[in-house]
């Protein structure tokens, strides 16, 4: 019970603490502490679930199974990375005059609420509550995206809220339609309880469920950064402060996708695997195509990372479309690996922005160039992070991409998988090209150069290196996590 509620309550308490005490030297690490607690309870929950199956709390409003537990771990892990780097980040922002202690306080409060909302989203037993929680993340993060209050930040925040709200409204419509279908199920009203829906999926009217599933996938897909309603993502992720970008890219997208995974179980039960598979595969390929198209001529490294998130969610969607234990386990592993790697990269990108003052990828006119010469550790982490991101071993993204591809070919989706792999290849090529332009070569002299030679703050360094090490370790061996992975995948497959 407590472990179930803790991931929601701890951040809320953290937020309250910041509201009361404000952000200062003594409270700077509270958010990290709350992330540690979230992670710890997540692990405890996972162990518990693995041992004794799903649990519910608060009159069946919260429910945790292996999948939820896994998602909690993802939230906790990435949140830990982000919050470790946060104090140094905020301090640097304040030093640079881009933020005040008030901004920092608000930042910390909102981040805590953000964590709480995400935890609620994965713990909620009711699809409606999932929706509420996910929409809540939009509201909470809107001001985080607009934190800098520059033109670009306000613009990004507006687009973020409008597009996401519009998109997720479709999911609400879908939820309502699904509720309607459930209420008309022959075996008696089912309601919006996820487990009940999954168990009774075959009872649902197929005509109505089709509409509901389409709307749900489109709607939650918006929040997960999948095409066609992906366009908020690069703006928001590039404008948000680095730790927030890390959280948004690393977990928020996955949390939204978690909802799609839940919906897919229902859809598979009600409509057979083909329907959701087609929808997801189309969206996956479209997302990959969009990401590739916009990465090719990309000039901003934070946007580059954002588009890469679209790409990875596209891969995840492809994995979900493929279905089956292997693909779904790979999808989950991919979510975790991507969260860690992308978290590291956004933190690194934030640091690069702080030391260079520009978010342009280096070219003849300026931008970030020759970073490795001036900031070897930072550049090394970002470089290795990008290598992890393009799916090179020993990082876990390799294992998960391999798993998805293997399952894809085995499931008779060879052509789609091959097309996706080729798009991923193009994206990898582009990422490597852009990153190498930033990191390698002789550092430029004169204005726009990476002139500040301040050292990487040690917490940031720990976050960067730790995240990469975690990602690599996962790629070498998932250890005890692998049974959780399979358990979670089984919750998605077993309902069929």
């Amino acid at each position: 019970m407590i472990t179930l509620l803790a991931p929601i309550i701890v951040p809320v308490l953290g937020a309250l603490g910041y509201v009361v005490a404000g952000w200062r030297r003594s409270t700077a690490w509270v958010s990290a502490g709350s992330a540690v607690l979230v992670l710890a309870t997540a692990i405890a929950t996972a162990l518990d679930v693995a041992r004794s199956g799903p649990r519910t709390a608060i009159a069946g409003l919260l429910r945790v199974d292996a999948l939820s537990a896994f998602m909690l771990i993802v939230i906790g892990a990435v949140a830990l990375l982000a919050t470790i780097a946060t104090p140094a980040f905020l301090r640097a922002e304040i030093t640079a005059g881009r933020a005040t202690a008030r901004t920092a306080t608000r930042h910390s409060v909102l981040v805590q609420l953000f964590l709480a909302a995400m935890a609620l989203a994965v713990l909620a037993a009711n699809l409606g509550v999932v929706w509420v929680a996910i929409e809540a993340t939009t509201i909470v993060t809107a001001f985080l995206v607009g934190q800098r209050r520059t033109r670009a930040a306000v613009e990004a925040a507006w687009k973020y809220v409008v597009i996401c709200s519009a998109g997720i409204a479709l999911a609400l419509l879908g939820t309502i339609v699904l509720n309607y279908a459930a209420s008309r199920a022959p075996g008696g009203a089912v309601g919006l309880d996820l487990a009940a829906l999954a168990a009774n999926a075959s009872m649902l009217d197929s005509g109505v469920t089709r509409i509901a599933v389409v709307l749900l996938i489109l709607g939650f897909g918006t929040k997960a950064g999948l095409a066609p309603l992906h366009a908020w993502l690069p703006d928001a992720h590039s404008q948000a402060p680095a730790p927030v970008s890390a959280l948004m890219s690393g977990v928020l997208l996955s949390v939204a996708f978690y909802a799609i995974l839940r919906v897919k179980v229902i859809a598979d039960g009600a409509l057979g695997t083909g329907f959701a598979r087609t929808a997801l595969a189309v969206m996956a390929i479209a997302s990959l195509l969009v990401a590739a198209s916009l990465l090719l001529a990309q000039r901003d490294y934070k946007r580059m990372l954002a588009y890469s998130s679209i790409e990875h969610l596209g891969l995840v969607a492809l994995g979900a479309a493929i279905g089956g234990p292997l693909a779904l386990a790979a999808v989950l592993l991919h979510i975790l690996g991507h969260g860690l790697a992308k978290g590291v990269l956004f933190l690194g990108a934030g640091r690069i922005l702080q030391v260079t003052g520009t978010s342009r990828i280096g070219d003849d006119q300026g931008g970030v160039r020759g970073l490795a010469a001036r900031h070897p550790v930072l550049a090394g982490c970002v470089g290795v992070g990008v290598l992890a991101l393009i799916g090179l071993p020993p990082f876990s993204l390799f294992a998960s991409e391999l798993g998805i591809a293997r399952a894809g070919f085995a499931a008779g989706m060879g052509w789609v998988t091959a097309a996706a792999l080729i798009l991923v290849l193009v994206i990898a090529a582009v990422l490597v090209g852009h990153t190498s332009r930033m990191l390698l070569g002789t550092p430029p002299d004169g204005p726009g150069a990476a002139t500040t030679t301040r050292h990487l703050p040690w917490p940031t360094a720990i976050a960067l290196v730790g995240g990469l090490l975690a990602c690599a370790t996962l790629g070498v061996t998932a250890g005890p996590l692998s049974s959780l992975l399979h358990l979670a995948a089984d919750t998605l497959v077993g309902a069929r």
Partner: protein, 224 residues
């Protein structure tokens, strides 16, 4: 309440919903649009009220009251406040799709909504709820029109209204299908919508601070 009256009142409320949605599309003065939106909120509340009376549900009645307060009171108030601080720009400048074409599109969207919602309508059992179910397409139409407003209107405030239109439509569909999706979810959704509007209102203000105007086509700094 006898069945005929119920059907009549229900249809009236739904007609109000649809009409107000079309009016939002039609009119260009922002003040008028906000008024129309308030009327739509009232129509929605009426719809819920009718359902509450029909089902003799006090709970639903309370919900109806809540809907009335939120959608005909609080939200229009917020919109008006946003408009008041908007200063000069009180009219929707040229929308991306002109009014005539918008109205034609609305007609097409209505047809689409009817076509799409056929399975929903067919699923309804004959009897108690059937007249409500018949009205589902109207809710769907409102959603689509709201989305269309979102896509074609240049003012921040009109977009806000578009979003709320969608939301009204969704709520309508919710009540028309199953008389709501449970109290907690309903509350959560309403809270979310409220907060979203608040956030958007604040952002509108900030936009004016930084951009000086709220023509959304000014927002083109972030691009590739």
């Amino acid at each position: 309440m006898n069945e005929t009256l119920f059907v009549q009142l229900l249809d009236l409320a739904c007609g109000g919903l649809l009409l107000t949605a079309v009016l939002v599309l039609w009119r260009r003065e922002l003040v008028v649009i906000i008024h129309v939106f308030a009327v739509q909120g009232a129509a929605l509340a009426a719809l819920v009220g009718v359902l509450a009376v029909h089902e003799d549900s006090i709970e639903l009645g309370a919900v109806a009251a809540g809907v009335l307060v939120l959608r005909a009171g609080v939200l229009p108030y917020l919109l008006r406040r946003a408009l008041a601080s908007a200063g000069e720009a009180r009219r929707e400048t040229r929308p991306l799709v002109n009014v005539a074409a918008s109205l034609l599109t609305a007609a097409v969207l209505t047809l689409l909504a009817y076509a799409v919602s056929r399975p929903l309508v067919e699923l309804a059992p004959s009897g108690l709820m059937s007249p409500a179910t018949q009205a589902i397409p109207i809710g769907l139409t409102v959603v689509l029109i709201g989305f269309f407003v979102l896509v074609t209107r240049r003012r921040a405030l009109s977009q806000l209204v578009g979003f709320l239109l969608m939301d009204n439509g969704i709520t309508a569909v919710g009540f028309l299908t199953t008389s709501g999706v449970g109290l907690i979810v309903e509350l959560g959704v309403s809270l979310d919508v409220l907060l979203a509007v608040l956030v958007l209102q604040i952002l509108t203000a900030r936009m004016r601070e930084t951009f000086g105007d709220t023509d959304l086509d000014e927002l083109r700094e972030l691009r590739d």
